[in-house]
């Protein structure tokens, strides 16, 4: 089947000297991006890599993008290892993968060597300039994996979502068309590259021929400077998590400075309050706006909904209709398709499974209830169809929350707390209106030590905002923690 890299061939032929990706200082044109990916691919193949995981430990930037594409060029699949992840989480991921090859930049080479001493470590600079053909491969094995990204797992063990080439190709064939990506778009990437959220911008660049700037993280503590940065670089397309949009509008940034050229806005991953949405609508009157919905296990986004005009604050904004080729079914409590129920997604977008984890894969896979033989993914989200045939997101069925755009299993935070010395029991609650994770625990450990312990085990977005010691935690008659009583006692609700 066609390779996703064939799109980059086409765009690099057409626009060789146009800027593809930049962090604002260092950038790669389409020609340079293709060259670097080709070199990395050739270097890996020369070293004997084939259809296997290649860890990438690099700073967020254009070169990291080239590294991911280069791994695919070698017929392997990339696994982002973020430099900011706590050491223990990185070690768990590496234990699951057991990679023979790790690609690192100069800044991270020593860390990569310490993390996985047995692997062969390739330095980005050398690999990218390895002698290689001018063009990337046009064909790929559809069943082979393209990438594995790790998400939060309720037992404390991160899950490696494994995505096939065929799923990524399907995304490339549907998303840019549905959202109208073209060469005139200049994206500002808000998300880190170690999840799948930034694939939208990847496709906007290599398929649509646009340019993408990786927005420096520190700009999000300085919203006026963020908008100034966006204006200075002519950024006109923002595909951000809802909380990033909210962050800017909540601080009343638009009273001081307006984004001048925004023509496309996509938000998703969480609900964007209508008040914040309308602040953006007023600030960017010429923008086409889409609400998106999807799951990492289904290669990013599966549904889209154009947001037109003012929205009713009392009604949720629908997440819309599935992309062509994707199917959404709502299953009621009896497991039958209904107008309201658990959202299950089918189509080429569905992942191959969790990496080396058949048990947890089986928990989320479902044969098509209509007996077609297709595999569907149970999202754990609840939804309903509205009168226009649009999907409306209603919330979660379990203890997974979306916090600052990231998926967090509260059970994973509890598991991390329970692994600390002096923590006997732990209950984690999400305070949605304050966007805060709170942890209550019993045991002799001091809150200070628990917080420090958690920071060593969990990424920053998963560490609780509040950690409180209690003499004991309440239980249900069956012995389980009584989270409802904890909630009532702590928040009076």
């Amino acid at each position: 089947m066609k390779s996703i890299l064939s799109y980059l061939n086409g765009t690099a032929d057409r626009l060789p000297d146009k800027l593809a990706f930049s962090d604002g200082e260092k950038g790669l044109t389409f020609r340079q991006l293709r060259q670097a990916a080709a070199g990395i691919g050739a270097c890996l193949k020369n070293g004997g890599a084939r259809r296997e995981p290649v860890g990438v430990l690099m700073e967020r930037g254009a070169e990291e993008v080239a590294a991911f594409l280069g791994v695919m060029e070698a017929g392997c699949f990339y696994v982002p290892l973020d430099e900011q992840m706590p050491r223990e989480r990185l070690e768990r991921i590496v234990r699951t993968l057991n990679p023979r090859f790790i690609l690192a930049d100069k800044q991270n080479l020593t860390a990569a060597e310490g993390l996985c001493p047995a692997a062969e470590h390739l330095l980005y600079g050398g690999a990218a300039s390895f002698p290689a053909p001018d063009r990337l491969r046009e064909e790929a094995e559809g069943e082979d994996l393209a990438y594995v990204v790790f998400t939060s797992g309720s037992t404390g063990e991160p899950k490696g979502v494994s995505i096939r080439n065929s799923s990524l190709l399907d995304y490339a064939q549907t998303l840019p068309k549905a959202l109208g990506f073209d060469e005139s778009l200049v994206f500002g990437i808000q998300s880190p590259l170690y999840f799948d959220a930034w694939l939208k911008e990847l496709l906007g660049v290599i398929v649509g021929g646009g340019t993408a700037y990786l927005l420096p993280r520190e700009l999000f503590v300085n919203p006026m400077a963020l908008i100034q940065y966006i204006n200075d670089r002519g950024i006109n397309a923002l595909c951000w998590v809802s909380s990033a949009f909210s962050l800017v509008s909540k601080l009343r940034t638009f009273r001081a400075i307006l984004p001048r050229e925004i023509r496309l806005m996509c938000f998703g991953s969480e609900v964007l309050p209508v008040k914040q949405l309308s602040a953006w609508q007023q600030a960017c009157p010429n923008a086409r706006i889409f609400q998106l919905y999807g799951a990492t296990e289904c290669t990013g986004m599966s549904c889209f909904h154009p947001v037109l005009g003012p929205q009713d604050p009392d009604k949720p904004v629908p997440v819309g209709k599935p992309f062509p080729g994707t199917e959404v079914i709502l299953l009621n409590d009896e497991g039958r398709p209904d107008t309201e129920g658990e959202i299950v997604i089918g189509g080429p977008c569905v992942m191959a499974g969790y990496y080396h984890d058949p048990v947890r894969t089986a928990e989320v896979f479902l044969p098509d209830p209509r007996g077609t033989g297709a595999t569907f993914y149970r999202t754990g989200d609840r939804g309903r169809w509205d009168e226009n045939g649009d999907l409306v997101f209603l919330g979660r069925r379990d203890r997974q929350v979306k916090h600052m755009g990231h998926r967090v299993e509260l059970g994973e935070v509890e598991a991390a707390a329970l692994s600390l010395k002096g923590v006997h029991e732990a209950a984690c609650l999400y305070v949605a209106d304050r966007q805060r994770i709170d942890l209550f625990y019993s045991g002799p450990a001091q809150p200070w030590d628990v917080v420090i312990g958690l920071k060593q085990k969990l990424p920053g977005y998963m560490t609780p905002s509040r950690t409180e010691q209690r003499p004991e935690l309440p239980h249900l008659p069956n012995g389980k923690l009584d989270r409802r009583t904890i909630e009532q006692k702590e928040y009076g609700k």
Partner: protein, 77 residues
Amino acid sequence: MTFEQLLDLLSDLHPEVDFLHAEGLIDNKVLTSFDVVSIAAELSETYDVELGAVDIVPENFNSARALFALIQKREDE
């Protein structure tokens, strides 16, 4: 709002940090963008102190004292 109340608010977010003495809270990435939003929301909801975008610059959040000076300025207005 008193300085002690501000220290309590900050310690709720990061009990491991000695906010009385810590400097470079933004520069050293102790406080994230979402911490800044939480702080602004808490100041508004609990203490009726309204910060605007012009206030949200690293210099104002790099230390508890700098933030307290800003709060006092806004309270006086």
